[in-house]
Amino acid sequence: MLPLMKPFVTPAALATKLRVEHVNMVFNRDGDSTHVLNDINLEVGDGEFVCLLGPSGCGKSTLLSTMAGFLSPTGGDIRIDGEVVRGPDPRRIFVFQERGVFPWLTVEGNIGFGLFKLPRAERERRIAYYVKMVGLEGFEKTYPPELSGGMKQRLEVARALAVNPDMLFLDEPFGALDSITRLIMRGELLRIWEAERKTIIFVTHDIDEAVQLADRVVVMSARPATIQQIVTIDVPHPRDISSPHYLELRDGIFKQIGLAHKL
């Protein structure tokens, strides 16, 4: 089910797409200040699939939002393609959980949302293409409240892809789905990644998910978050999740986070 992919390439050979340098984040609210991110340094290559992994509330979503330009770091900066990130941009689309879909637009309306600058024929062509790619044929005129969780998530991914961004940021996108749908969606995401080869940064708290999907897993500590470890998953896709090397990497991360792998 996890599809055949091109041979795995080490990060050093890729051009740097995203560079995070000494990023700090402090939130001030009503006089209390919370130190959320502490001296984060990270480089992500073009076309890489990177996972940010950590317990809930550790700040990985904050880091992702900062990378996407929705928040400004208190200190340090973030560069994409060499330019400092100053705000959100259609070249890097953020995929929220399914609730990011616009409920007042149909499936077609949502996917076509970012395409308002295109001529009509082109727009419709693209919408049709992406509807097919995420497997929502037949639901073009349906409204989101009538779709299942998995379908809404696919819709959101299609909406993101339709504008042809360079980067995708996904914030626990499968968190609201049941575990069977989650497995299916992981396969779908990898399939799409193979087809379009975007740079993807994916936030999750699920260790298995991270190891199944990513080229590199960035393990983050609890708040104030730092990068504890970056694990390179050099298992080629399709990944055999019972191969010894896979299990070794996975157990390594378990230990890093401080969990025993016996329950």
Partner: protein, 260 residues
């Protein structure tokens, strides 16, 4: 869920009919027992209603009331929705104007009659102004609340796709706030209907409110009074139900809880 057994379908018609019939009977007998000569019985009211329907005055009264509501409410929508969106979009503006609105809001529109007459003379216009006042504040408040309640996820998504601020307002914030705005409009319409009746009782010479007061003043025709009241209730209810239809439109329906 709370009663012991789920009510059956026929019960939906049975119980209200039963209770209403009982109340009518009770009303009828109260009138008989107290030997009142003024207060009408249900039959008197029915006869009065027929009388009104026959004479043309009723229809022109209804038309007058509806016309005033249409103009006053329409004006409140045209002015109130953009203003409300603006206030919601720029919270500092809201912060400046809000206290003034909070002081003006508890003043019953009826209390504005003397001032309104200064500005608008006599006739329809002061009444329409009152309706406008009554509907304006709820509409603005609903718009402000609607805009504030747009989830930040939707706003972020909109910005992410490169929308300029005015595009964000038009394509994301407004559709997202629309369910709440529509509820506000429906409530404001209900208020407009209340105000028009009250305004007609004081300041103008036609309309359903005037009919109520006039029926009493010229001849103590309480049967017509009650008939007019019932008409007011029915028309008001019809307006409300009509508006609720709007809430069923698909691109807005998502904002309303599914009622069983």
């Amino acid at each position: 869920m709370k009663s012991l057994a789920e009510p059956k379908r026929w019960e939906r018609y049975f119980w209200p009919t039963l209770v209403s019939a009982l109340l009518l009977v009770l009303w009828h007998y109260c009138v008989i027992w107290t030997n009142t000569r003024i207060f009408p019985s249900p039959l008197d009211v029915e006869r009065g209603m027929a009388e009104l329907l026959r004479e043309n005055i009723l229809w022109s009264d209804i038309a007058d009331s509806l016309r005033r509501v249409a103009i006053g409410f329409g004006g409140a929508v045209i002015l109130g929705v953009p203003l409300g969106l603006l206030f919601g979009w720029y919270p500092p503006v809201n912060q400046v104007v809000n206290p003034t609105m909070q002081i003006l809001r508890p003043i019953s529109p009826i209390a504005w009659i003397p001032v309104s007459i200064i500005f608008f003379g006599v006739g329809d216009s002061p009444a329409i102004f009152l309706i406008f006042l009554g509907a304006f504040f709820p509409i603005v408040v609903a718009c402000v609340d609607g805009v504030s309640n747009v989830p930040s996820v939707s706003r972020r998504a909109g910005r992410n796709f490169g929308l300029a601020p005015w595009q964000l307002l038009a394509k994301v914030v407004f559709p997202a706030a629309l369910p709440q705005i529509i509820v506000g409009l429906r409530i404001a319409l209900g208020i407009a209907w209340l105000v028009v009746v009250a305004a007609e009782m004081i300041a103008v010479d036609s309309g359903l409110g005037y009919l109520v007061i006039d029926s009493r003043n010229s001849g103590k025709r309480y049967d017509l009074v009650v008939a007019a009241m019932l008409l007011i209730g029915v028309i008001g209810l019809t307006l409300d139900l009509g508006f609720r239809r709007l809430e069923k439109i698909k691109s807005v329906r998502w904002g309303f809880r599914n009622e069983s």
